[in-house]
Amino acid sequence: MAAIVDIKGVTKVYGRGDVAVHALRGVDLTIGDGEFAAMAGPSGSGKSTLLNIIGALDTATSGSVVVDGEDLGGMGAAVLSKLRRERIGFVFQNFNLVPVLTALENAEYVLLLQGVAKSERRDRVRALLTEVGLGGMEDRYPRELSGGQQQRVAIARSIVAEPALVLADEPTANVDSATGDSLIDLMRGLRDEKGVTFLFSTHDAKVMERSDRLLLLTDGLITADGVPSDVLQRG
């Protein structure tokens, strides 16, 4: 299995001197193509920081980060922006859709940035929205959708450009349990069908159990990594 994420000795320090906070203390991690992996750990353990660094939203203080074969070290802002646009999808805890765009416009935004022709954009997005269960809701604005529906739009937005990796920061945190289950079903289905690699952080034990691989972070280090049942038993 080819590695989509390969990071070695990654540290992240916020601040300096006495007030320095060591968010990551030397993380080594490899995520293979098509994995459906979850990260868990208490607040402040470094989950979001690690996702941000893998997603090229933040830079590591030291160590190497390779995503889909690209070493992120030393890349400029424009190149990182292009990498995010073309190879990484994001799903956020608060959905974070653009409120003035419809479901269809939100989902097609990344394709528009990539210069995909309008007719192709619209066809692909309509098909995808139907696939995530939002057929007929293309013209609704985020305020007209439930939390679960908004997160489905966000998931559609994250995979519409067929990225190598989708990073999801607690994607089920703001929806009820049943909706959370259906979102995990959706993401797993997309992984199975399209081969998209998912890496997400979560606090929800049910979500952890449904991943293929569970990483446990504690104080900026990966302290457990394996099949969820094993990790949870040890944790």
Binding site: S48, L57, A77, S81, R84, N94
Partner: protein, 414 residues
């Protein structure tokens, strides 16, 4: 590329309307500011235009042809020769409304009640009656006619000091072009009252012929050949054409600004003061706009961070924020220009009547100002004000855009 531009335009347009009331208030404040400034500037320009128009029509036109040395030391012997041929040449130029011949001299006016220093204006009565506001301000008797011989019109102030009435006689004593002491008897045809003491107490007008005789000038001589224009804004072009036409003679062409330097300086000074006040008003409006634009970026930092996170090029995001400012500035300026033009045009047609507020005539630089004010509305004035406000709003957008470009995605999304 085109799709991205459209996307920026659409996102920016929809974004400004997400807080409809706030955007409307901001646009209204821009529009109100532009309206006020357009009205104030056009009103001032209206007063200036009226002053200039009265002054040039009463005196020697928008363009004055006179002896090259006359301005340095006005003397009756510095007259222009061959004025009839010159006049024919000038009148053939496009944009010339009328020309007028003048003989301007000094003298002492004497009646049985005393003597007073006066400015003597030899004029063509039929031209003055058509063009000069002085001829329309006769309060007793009648203005001069072409057939009048030794008759004069005098100002109310001068008439009071010399106890003159219609039909009374006065003697004007002066030095002629050869330096000889001469005098001539005139009968008062009428009394004018412009409201300006400097004119009503000092000026007498008489037909050109008798004044030429008094000063010993020939029939083809005058101290000034005045040119009135159809469009005062065409002064520069006509000045050049006239200068070409009189090249090689002892005469020169001067704009009214050189002939009436005090009036010109007063208007320039007044304009600076007006624009300072109006500039302050614009600055106040800009603070409102800055507040709105800044708020709209600060409260959307998370959304803008998400857009950056999913791969929006930073330049595109900056363009979106700038475009929002452009929309607000453009709508506010256009609405303000339309409203300002409508209000100013209404007053230009109907006049702003301030006569009830003032008992006496107001004068500026010795010229009476009508108390019925009429704005002078021109596309240049309105466009200039609109463009200034629009450009300033766009610059504010650029300032706010810088803030948007400094967003730390990870910090905001944490």
């Amino acid at each position: 590329m085109m799709a991205r531009v459209v996307s920026v335009a659409v996102l920016a347009w929809r974004s400004i309307w997400r807080h409809r009331r706030r955007t409307i208030i901001t646009i209204a404040s821009i529009a109100f500011g532009v309206t006020i400034v357009v009205f104030a500037v056009t009103m001032n320009e209206g007063v200036y235009s009226q002053l200039i128009d009265d002054a040039v029509r009463m005196q020697s036109g928008h363009v004055t042809i006179e002896h090259a040395d006359y301005r340095d030391a006005p003397a009756i012997d510095l007259a222009v020769d061959g004025v009839h041929e010159l006049r024919a040449t000038i009148e053939a130029l496009p944009g010339v409304e009328a020309t007028k011949l003048l003989v301007l001299g000094q003298g002492i006016a004497r009646s049985g009640s005393g003597a007073v220093g006066v400015a003597v204006m030899g004029v063509e009565p039929e031209v003055e009656a058509r063009t000069s506001p002085l001829a329309r301000n006769i309060v007793a008797g009648a203005y001069l006619t072409a057939d009048d011989g030794a008759r004069v019109v005098v100002g109310r102030g001068l008439a009071d000091r010399l106890r003159l009435d219609e039909g009374k006689k006065l003697v004007v004593a002066t030095n002629d072009a050869r330096g000889d002491l001469v005098e001539s008897l005139y009968r008062v045809s009428g009394i004018f009252e412009t409201g300006a003491d400097e004119i009503d107490g000092y000026v007498i007008q008489a037909p050109l012929g008798p004044v030429r005789e008094l000063y010993g000038l020939r029939g083809d001589q005058a101290t000034q050949l005045g040119v009135l224009l159809d469009d005062p804004d065409e002064q520069r072009a006509l000045l050049d054409a006239v200068s070409d036409a009189i090249a090689g003679t002892s005469a020169v062409a001067r704009g009214w600004q050189q002939v009436l330097p005090e009036l010109s300086a007063m208007i320039r000074l007044d304009r600076v003061s007006d624009w300072t006040f109006e500039g302050m008003l614009i600055v106040l409006v800009l603070f409102t706009i800055l507040n709105t634009l800044l708020m709209s970026v600060i409260e959307r930092e998370r959304e803008l961070s998400v857009l950056l996170a999913i791969g929006t090029p930073p330049l595109q995001l900056r363009m979106q924020v700038l475009t929002e400012a452009v929309y607000i500035g453009l709508i506010g300026s256009v609405v303000g220009m339309a409203l300002g033009t409508a209000v100013a045009t209404w007053f230009a047609v109907n006049g702003l009547d301030l006569r009830g507020l003032y008992d006496e005539e107001m004068t500026i630089s010795g010229l009476a100002v009508s108390m019925v004010l009429r704005p002078r509305v021109t596309p240049e004035i309105v466009m200039t004000i609109g463009m200034i406000v629009f450009a300033a709003t766009t610059m504010l957008g650029a300032l706010v855009m810088r803030r948007a470009s400094r967003i730390e995605i990870a910090d905001v999304l944490r």
